[in-house]
Structures are given as structure tokens and as C-alpha cells.
């Protein structure tokens, strides 16, 4: 598989709309991390009209809880966590300008509808390739809620972070189209339910 191209954050509508499900791309720039606990706090902040730790407009959130940074390294192992657990919060964030998400695993139809409406993209990093991915992270600092440990919000600078476009802004979903090509048993169900 060849890389279809490079993208730079923050993401513009034009950049998002140029991406197609199945494209393999390299991301560079600033991304923010957030997983279960951070999403709950972001949603609570929005509900309580409190300021957010970062402006969501045009940004990319990476669903990750890195392992601790060993001495002499920029960060620990940092592979994606299962994105579906963030689904209840995601449409809210997309409505506030979030343009990209990096994770692994299926998303709800509510999230996909919101992605199409808001022109956003869902990118996949290889689950479990956490030491490899950490090589793409050139800087990392805590932005909010350090008491959450690995679940805090970190700001990461990444260079050529390898991802595959899983669901594009047109709603096309690689988790549906990919497995369908290799499904052998008509009674079996493909990966996406």
C-alpha cells in the first residue's frame, strides 16, 4: 500500500473533503489526546459553560492513554484505544468544530451522521502498534487534568503519523467496505454491525 498523501493539522474543510475512505495518509502537526475520562470532562465543561482546555475548531483528537514516558524519550508507547466508547460525546465535539479523530474500531450511526454534517474525518491507527507510533511523536505536553494520569489531555506534535482513513466526510466506512470484499460465508456478518 502506498501513502496517498500528507495532511497537516489543523484541518481545513478542503483537506477533510479531499480524503477518501481507504486512503493511507501521514499526519503532521499538533494533535490533542483524549479518552474516556477526558471526554466526560469536556462534555461536562460544555454543559456547564466552562472554558475548554483547547479550542476544538479544526483540531484532531487522538484516542490514546499513553504509557508513562521513560527517561530520555518523548513519550511512552501510544497506540489507539477503542473509539466507540467516546461515541456518546463525539457529536457534541463535532458540532463545536472538531475535524478529525484518530482511533480504532467502529463508530455509531449518530457519530457518522454528525461527521457528514460537520465535514469531519475518522482516521485509524493500527491497534497495538504503540511503540512504532511513539516514534512519530516529537513533542508531548500536558494540557489539562494531569490528575487523570494516562487519561489526561496531552498536546502532541507529530511528524508523519501513519493512519488509514476509516470513515470519510461522505460517510463511506472502510469497516463495512473492507471486510465485505473478503467475506466468504454469506450467512456470516461483516465486521461492521
Amino acid at each position: 500500500m502506498k501513502y496517498a498523501g500528507r495532511i497537516v493539522t489543523p484541518l481545513t474543510d478542503k483537506a477533510v473533503l479531499s480524503l477518501r475512505s481507504g486512503d493511507k495518509v501521514l499526519i503532521s502537526g499538533i494533535i490533542f489526546t483524549g479518552r474516556d475520562a477526558a471526554h466526560r470532562r469536556i462534555a461536562d465543561s460544555i454543559g456547564g459553560n466552562r472554558p475548554l482546555p483547547f479550542d476544538l475548531n479544526g483540531q484532531v483528537i487522538y484516542y490514546v492513554g499513553p504509557s508513562p514516558t521513560p527517561p530520555g524519550k518523548t513519550c511512552g508507547s501510544a497506540g489507539p484505544t477503542t473509539s466507540g466508547r467516546m461515541d456518546p460525546f463525539t457529536p457534541l465535539l463535532l458540532d463545536l468544530g472538531l475535524k478529525g479523530m484518530i482511533g480504532k474500531g467502529t463508530r455509531s450511526s449518530e457519530v457518522i451522521d454528525s461527521m457528514v454534517r460537520n465535514k469531519a474525518v475518522y482516521l485509524g491507527a493500527v491497534g497495538g502498534a504503540a511503540a512504532l507510533i511513539s516514534k512519530s511523536i516529537t513533542r508531548m505536553e500536558t494540557v489539562a487534568w494531569p490528575e487523570l494520569g494516562p487519561e489526561a489531555v496531552f498536546r502532541m506534535r507529530v511528524e508523519d503519523f501513519p493512519v488509514v482513513v476509516l470513515i470519510d466526510a461522505y460517510g463511506k466506512n472502510l469497516y463495512e467496505t473492507g471486510p465485505r470484499q473478503y467475506l466468504r460465508d454469506p450467512a456470516g456478518r461483516p465486521g461492521e454491525e
Binding site: P70, S77, G105, V126, G127, G128, P150, G188, R189
Partner: protein, 285 residues
């Protein structure tokens, strides 16, 4: 009567620590070989080959840089078989195991992923303890420790079903397939599937967990169960989920089944899914 054999618990702490550090950083050669075989010989999908290649490169980097294979360094599951002639000195076995876990996660820079209360406050214990410990008393004067850091991307996709005596092996195979289909991309395929059949609910679950740690290619010694393993593996790989769930031939590296005597009225079946990194290490003291 035979003299008891003394084991100092500091040895147990050191062993657990060493095993967890090894397991989190360095994958077993059987799994590494299976991944290379899958990439070079089996997988047809370009994106599937790409995912397998990333996984293999990740193992190389983890080993050379002494980094955890995955940021989810799991809950520490410890299987220990203790010879009945063993006497422990120098403290408390459970504490000794947990000290080994705590030291491994601190010194290895592994993520602490354990919360003290699972439902209400979900506060991190900060040490990755307590471990989940399964103890068996066996004949002899030795002790074995088998540890596995279990990640939850795959644990979350596991399932239990109670079968009636009227239901045969085809139904069990279908249940395995349905569980893997429902899991889709979430457990980081290609997975290793452990199945426990028989006994009671908790016995089946422990068998299933142990089965995820068997070497790739190991077959049940009972030919009927071995055939069910092979059929289930083929059925699961027909799903087309593929590496990373992006489509392909290699959804699962192996299906391992264990069974135990059961009750006349029913058969629990537990399907425990492990991601492509079945991390484990074992030692005998």
C-alpha cells in the same frame, strides 16, 4: 512424609516482576512467526498486509527500544500452580505477587490501568494492582508462575453463553463465530481466541483465559475438540474482518479450546478474545 520445600517470597516477587517486564516488551516467537507467515503467505488484502507489517515492525521496535508493545499494558493476570510440598517464607503470597506487579509497572514505565472501584468512583490504584490471581494446588515441591498482562480492547469483546445438552458442537462453533463477528475490528485482529467449555461459569472463564496463552498451532489432544478448533478458525477467518478489521483473510491466528467435565443439565461456553499480542511469560521455581 516428605520434607516441605521452602520458597522465599522475595523470589516470587522477583519472578513476577521479571515475567511482566518480559511479557510486555517481547512477544513470543510463535506469535511473531505466525504474524510473518500471515503477512507473507496468507493475507491477500493490501491493507491487511500493511497492518500486519506495522504490527511486526512494532514488535521489532518494542524489543530493541525496550518499550511496551502496547500502551495498554493490561491487568496483570497470574496463574500459579503450587506444589503441595511448598512452604512459603517471608510474608504473604498475594502481597508478594502484587509487589512484583507494582515494581514491574513502575520500573518498566508501563501504564497503570487498574481502578479500585469498578462502578462508582473508578479511582486508579496507581500501582496496577491488585493482580487477578488463579491458584491451583498440585502434587510436588515446585511452583509455576504464568503471567499475562491482559488488555481490555479485546477483553471487552469476550462472551459467555450457556448451552443445553441438546446443542452440539456446531452451535458452539456458531457462537465462537458470532462473538468474533460482533467484535469486528475492536479487539485488534488478528486475534487469538480462547474457548472454555464445560464445568461451571467461572471454570469455563478461567479455561478460556488460559487457552488464549497456548502456543500458535497447538491442538487439543482430544481429536474431536481439535477438529472443532480447526473448523472454528476457518469459520472465523471466513468473516473477512482481516487485520485491524479493515478487510482480509487473517482475522484470527488461532482458536484454542479447553474443556472440563460438566453438569447433566448444561454447558457453559466462554469465548475470551485476545488481541494479536498474546503477551505472556512463564517460569518454574
Amino acid at each position: 512424609m516428605k520434607e516441605p520445600r521452602e520458597i522465599d517470597l522475595s523470589l516470587v516477587t522477583e519472578a513476577v516482576k521479571g515475567l511482566l517486564i518480559k511479557a510486555n516488551i517481547s512477544i513470543g516467537q510463535d506469535i511473531y512467526n505466525a504474524l510473518v507467515h500471515a503477512r507473507d503467505r496468507v493475507e491477500e488484502s493490501p491493507v491487511g498486509k500493511y497492518v500486519l507489517d506495522q504490527i511486526i515492525r512494532n514488535h521489532d521496535i518494542a524489543r530493541s527500544d525496550q518499550m511496551p508493545i502496547c500502551q495498554d499494558t493490561g491487568m496483570a493476570v497470574v496463574f500459579t500452580d503450587i506444589g503441595q510440598e511448598v512452604v512459603f517464607r517471608g510474608g504473604n503470597l498475594v502481597q508478594a505477587i502484587n509487589s512484583g506487579v507494582e515494581e514491574a509497572y513502575r520500573e518498566g514505565f508501563f501504564r497503570r490501568s487498574v481502578v479500585a472501584d469498578p462502578l462508582f468512583d473508578r479511582k486508579n490504584t496507581g500501582t496496577n494492582t491488585p493482580a487477578v490471581i488463579h491458584t491451583r494446588i498440585v502434587p510436588g515441591d515446585r511452583m509455576t508462575l504464568l503471567v499475562t498482562p491482559k488488555g481490555f480492547g479485546s477483553e471487552n469483546m469476550s462472551a459467555l453463553k450457556m448451552f443445553t445438552p441438546a446443542e452440539g458442537p456446531e452451535k458452539v462453533r456458531d457462537f465462537i463465530k458470532e462473538t468474533v463477528a460482533a467484535a469486528g475490528p475492536n479487539p485488534c485482529p488478528p486475534t487469538i481466541v480462547g474457548v472454555g467449555i464445560g464445568g461451571t461459569v467461572e471454570a469455563a472463564a478461567i479455561m478460556a483465559k488460559r487457552a488464549t496463552l497456548y502456543p500458535i498451532g497447538r491442538r487439543n489432544t482430544d481429536s474431536r475438540y481439535a477438529a472443532l478448533e480447526i473448523e472454528s478458525l476457518a469459520a472465523v477467518n471466513d468473516l473477512g474482518i482481516g487485520p485491524g478489521g479493515l478487510g482480509g483473510r487473517v482475522t484470527c491466528l488461532d482458536v484454542h479450546i479447553d474443556f472440563a467435565p460438566g453438569h447433566i443439565a448444561g454447558t457453559p461456553v466462554v469465548v475470551n478474545i485476545c488481541c494479536h499480542a498474546s503477551r505472556h511469560a512463564e517460569v518454574t521455581i
